[in-house]
């Protein structure tokens, strides 16, 4: 009997790390953000500097997500997945489909994303967290984009993102601020191709978001995304949303939003509800 004790202790010590590595990593709740429609960790419409999942030191993490938006004349569906390591790098893949409910037909593209945390921590560093990302996008249907003046069926965006959490600053609640500067040639984020008859060069665009943690499970906020206007046939608007994200634990996140995507391909006032469900591992 007596000789069992060291064995049990050894067993517990040996088992604990392997159990811990099977569960989502040990970052704090909600610090993996949610999955943006382009696949990167962020809000709904913009990437954040945060790395997907909950991995910290030497851990692996990842997410899968399904998102949908129902606009006046379009329906957006996104299936996305990301893997991340060491709270340092994030590799994401997303397939985006835009059903043209009024015009007829469907636009579809794939986005491969890579994000690297360059510096800092949104929670613990006074200068916040800084990441550099690229998103390579490829249109799976190019007939319509090319007919309306797009120059290329694929393109690569590069963005620099900064995120910081401010503890207890809004009525004692934590405030999360994010900003991106993105170089892009994409028309309607790539659904209508890259470059156009009006402009065919990289332009810097600003993206920003602000969210308040009502408590550690509920984040309420808004996002804004500037976009280029490269095509003569129709004007392109900036995007924005109001969102509520519910992150009950490190496995699940549900985001509901009201998105306003302005005019798309000549059809004005495209707004409507957005819903995204994310699982983390």
């Amino acid at each position: 009997m007596k000789s069992l004790v060291p064995l049990i202790i050894a067993g517990v010590l040996g088992l604990a790390p392997s159990l811990a590595s099977a569960a989502p990593g040990s970052r704090l709740w909600a610090t993996g953000g949610v999955t943006s429609f382009e696949g990167a960790a962020g809000g709904g419409l913009t990437p954040w500097a945060l790395i997907a999942g909950y991995d910290s030191s030497q851990q692996w993490g990842g997410t899968v997500a399904q998102s949908t938006a129902h606009l006046q004349d379009y329906t957006l569906n996104v299936t996305a997945a990301a893997v991340s390591f060491d709270n340092r790098v994030e590799l994401s893949l997303a397939r985006q489909r835009l059903d043209l409910d009024t015009l007829g037909g469907r636009l579809s593209m794939d986005t491969l994303g890579l994000k690297v945390r360059l510096y800092g921590s949104a929670l613990y560093n006074r200068w916040g967290e800084w990441s550099l990302g690229i998103e390579h996008k490829h249109d799976r249907n190019f007939a319509l984009p090319s007919a309306v003046g797009a120059r290329s069926s694929s393109g690569t965006d590069v963005y620099l993102a900064a995120s910081k959490l401010f503890f207890g600053v809004v009525a004692g609640r934590n405030l999360l601020l994010n900003a991106d500067i993105r170089a892009t040639k994409a028309n309607q984020t790539g659904f209508l191709g890259f470059g156009g008859d009006k402009h065919d060069r990289y332009q810097p665009e600003f993206e920003g978001s602000a969210g308040v943690f009502v408590n550690r499970q509920w984040l309420v906020g808004t996002e804004y995304r500037q976009k280029p206007d490269n095509l003569n046939f129709a004007k392109e608007d900036d995007w924005m949303d109001l969102f509520v994200a519910y992150v009950p634990n490190r496995s699940l996140a549900v985001t509901a939003a009201w998105v306003d995507l302005g005019a798309i391909a000549g059809l004005k006032h495209q707004n409507g509800p957005y819903l995204s469900v994310q699982g983390s591992f």
Partner: protein
């Protein structure tokens, strides 16, 4: 450009603002008082240490540590940080944790245990956040040393 959305946004902000304000402490309410004074802080620290001891991710660091002394030191530290009439007499954070080679994962686990302890003690969210805001910058002195 977005009159409808702007109105919705304003309405949403007002609602959130009102909701949050009603649970906000008055300006005279210091963090120290919100944490329940020294007695409240001491209970929270005890709960915190129970959480840590239960946490297989990091409890091995605390094997053989004098729990009484750690409890008193942490209580005095949190008390002083929150503006209370206490003096933390221990060494600085860098010196205390030097040689432990603590990782981000360790630090996150400890912060999580503190949050869970404060929730169990029903510390108001605003006080939780303000205390965390005072501890978060210590990360640089504690991790990787």
């Amino acid at each position: 450009m977005y009159p409808r959305l702007t109105r919705t946004l304003l309405a949403a902000l007002c609602l959130c603002g009102l909701g949050a304000c009603s649970s906000m402490p008055s300006a005279s309410d210091s963090l120290y008082q919100q944490l329940g004074g020294k007695a409240g802080i001491s209970k929270t620290v005890t709960m915190f240490l129970y959480q840590v001891v239960d946490d297989d991710r990091i409890n091995h660091y605390f094997a053989g540590v004098n729990a009484d002394r750690l409890q008193k030191r942490l209580t005095n530290q949190f008390c002083q940080l929150s503006g209370g009439p206490c003096h933390y007499g221990g060494d600085n954070m860098h010196k205390v944790h030097a040689g432990m080679h603590l990782t981000d994962a360790d630090f996150n686990a400890l912060v999580e245990d503190l949050i869970l302890a404060m929730e169990k003690r029903r510390v108001p969210i605003s006080a939780q956040n303000r205390l965390l805001g005072k501890l978060a910058p210590m990360h640089a002195q504690i991790v990787g040393k």
